[in-house]
Amino acid sequence: MKFRHLVGAAAAALFAVVSVSGAAQAGATLDAIKKKGFIQCGVNTGLAGFSVADSQGVWTGLDVDICKAVAAAVFGDANAVKYTPTNAQQRFTALTSGEVDILSRNTTWTLTRDASLGMMFTGVTYYDGQGFMVPKSAKIKSAKELKGATVCVQTGTTTELNLADFARANKLNIKPVVFESLEESKVAFFGGRCKAYTTDASGLASIRAKDAPNPDDYIILPELISKEPLGPAVRRDDVEWFTLVKWVLYALGEAEESGITSANVNEMKSSADPNIQRLLGVSGDMGQKLGIDNAWAFNAIKQVGNYGEIFERNVGQKTPLRLARGLNATWKNGGLMYAMPVR
């Protein structure tokens, strides 16, 4: 009898400990971030334009700038970020195990990932789609003509799965030739190992511009066989943190729509437009509602720039990638970037 009591008490104590620690953790990501004074950001180990360590080992890129903007919003300091390079297989574990607070790593937003991996996507920072590149000499005009063709593809990505789906849906019997890294797959394609090369359209454009022996010898086929909305994701355990990251993305978009840039954000503070006043924290208490300083958006725009600036700086026409805005233009310019109203 006594022994049973003891076991019962021990179990109760254990349960109490577990539930207390559980309660302390629910919704605690933002608190923990504020306490430690920096954001842990999971990025790609190396993807041109999105997350690259430059010659001095400093991270740059579109995905990196998103983390910087969030850090600027929370702490007023875009450099309060610690980066964890992650690879395709490791990224979700890194997020769910708490190694990173935000995963900003060219990750495609899909139902499975949103529903079953313990994470939430906060928005889209880059609309991409998967396409094909073929040598002009192959005289292929459409992806539907790739019957029985060998296609070079990088492993561990949705790209590989989309290729299989596309081949099955169109009964094309495509033979994928799978590579671990971008370099290997590129070399194989330009070496004639495969008839076609497939990856996200953004990648195709930059690879053709940078790596082809003669860019004019290759064409990108018109079909996009998938939708690839890339965006940052956070853990499910803290809705406030989720909301904050989501609204930082909207603020960057809203800034571009309203013509606020890192250069003119100081003057814009004296704008008479109530929308701009609310966004920049001149009036209202938008920041406080998110649990951070009212100058959140001001700091993010001032230190990192609006979405358009981030895009042009990292992947735009003046960079080696030379990507057009396309789907990533604001809705006013025929794109899909549409910021929810800050009010």
Binding site: T45, V52, A53, T84, P85, S181, L321
Partner: protein, 366 residues
């Protein structure tokens, strides 16, 4: 030369056909038709392969700091890529202004390795030297004391990371492997079955799966908030793996020792520890130096697998350097550069093992 001198009887010298370079060539390169054939084929391969390789590597290569556009025009290698990126490749994302610290740390580590290669210093105090050396290495890299700014392990990268993984791997795995090898031959059933189970289990899986377990699975099992340093996790995986392989090598050495040695040691009244330490292990390990060094070399190169779990070792740092879109076309140069670094280390190890074998076998040369 006069007639008189010419007729003076002289010591008969071997005919010119067996001495000198021609004689050497005849004896070694053209002794049989088959050897002649092999020599000609090898010469043809060299003539075919070496000049283009040298052209690419040296004569047509682009040296110094230039823009990538200049490299695009050249036929040879673009060493400007290395000139631009060598600090990223060698030290990863270690803070740029603090990179004198990893330079010092690497020099210290290499100095300690060279120092330890000298047999005169193989004394008990060498262990203490290593403890102190590794402590200094850690202080330099971590910082946080003596006015050095703290640098977390997730910023460590490149050569220091590769070296520390390999060196700590060897230093810890070696004693562990001796214990395991002795355990496997022990008469105590629990010790023996534990050693057998450990060795067979670890040898039964590839290193990469251990690294995956340590890096991806372990964090999911740990309670939220509890984190084990990623570098430490990979280091433990490497140690466990190397220890299992080395244990079998050491066991091979133990089995080569004749039973008489054990009996003689026991007859002298030596206990187990003394017998092993003074009689058996010195002979056993001497017998297996080549396979031990072989394991070390393999393990040194295996450290590059940590790139897969996103530790920025020499290989991943190079990959990061390559992902710069401006320099992306010159990845071959990057890989050649680190291949050269790996070669220097592995070749030195193998040379040292040959030297060690020679000196240790002075008494038993056949």
């Amino acid at each position: 030369m006069t007639m008189e001198e010419a007729t003076t009887p002289q010591v008969e010298r071997p005919p010119a056909s067996v001495t000198g370079p021609w004689g050497w060539a005849r004896a070694n390169l053209f002794s049989t038709p088959w050897n002649t054939f092999l020599t000609l084929v090898s010469a043809a391969v060299l003539v075919w392969a070496v000049p283009p390789a040298l052209d690419w590597l040296i004569f047509n290569a682009v040296w110094g700091h230039v823009k990538p556009e200049v490299c695009k025009q050249a036929d040879g290698a673009c060493w400007a890529f290395i000139a631009e990126k060598y600090r990223l490749i060698l030290f990863g994302r270690y803070p740029f202004k603090e990179q004198w610290r990893p330079v010092l740390a690497v020099c210290l580590l290499i100095a300690m390795i060279v120092f330890s290669c000298n047999r005169r210093f193989w004394r008990v105090w060498l262990g203490a030297v290593w403890m102190a050396g590794l402590a200094v290495f850690g202080t330099l890299m971590w910082g946080g004391v003596l006015g050095l700014s703290p640098v977390e392990t997730n910023l460590w990268g490149g050569l220091p990371l590769t070296l520390i993984l390999a060196v700590v791997g060897v230093v810890v795995a070696f004693p562990l492997s001796i214990a395991l090898a002795l355990g496997r031959r022990s008469r105590m059933p629990i010790v023996r079955s534990f050693s057998v189970a450990y060795i067979e289990l670890i040898r039964g899986v590839p290193l990469i799966s251990l690294l995956f377990m340590a890096s991806f699975m372990l964090p999911l099992f740990l309670p939220t908030g509890m984190k084990i340093n990623a570098l430490l996790r990979a280091q433990v995986a490497i140690i466990m793996f190397t220890a299992a392989y080395l244990a079998e090598v050491v066991r091979g050495g133990l089995q080569a020792i004749p039973k008489g040695q054990y009996e003689a040691a026991q007859a002298l009244g030596l206990g187990y520890m003394q017998m092993m330490w003074k009689i058996i292990l010195p002979q056993a390990i001497r017998a297996v130096i080549p396979p031990i060094v072989n394991t070390f070399i393999g393990m040194f190169k295996d450290t590059s697998l940590v790139a897969i779990v996103s530790l920025t070792d020499l290989l991943l740092a190079t990959k990061q350097a390559i992902s710069d879109p401006n320099w992306r076309a010159f990845f071959v140069e990057g890989y050649v550069f680190i291949a050269f670094i790996y070669f220097i280390f592995c070749f030195s190890m193998s040379k040292y093992s040959q030297h060690l074998e020679k000196t240790l076998r002075a008494g038993a040369r056949r």
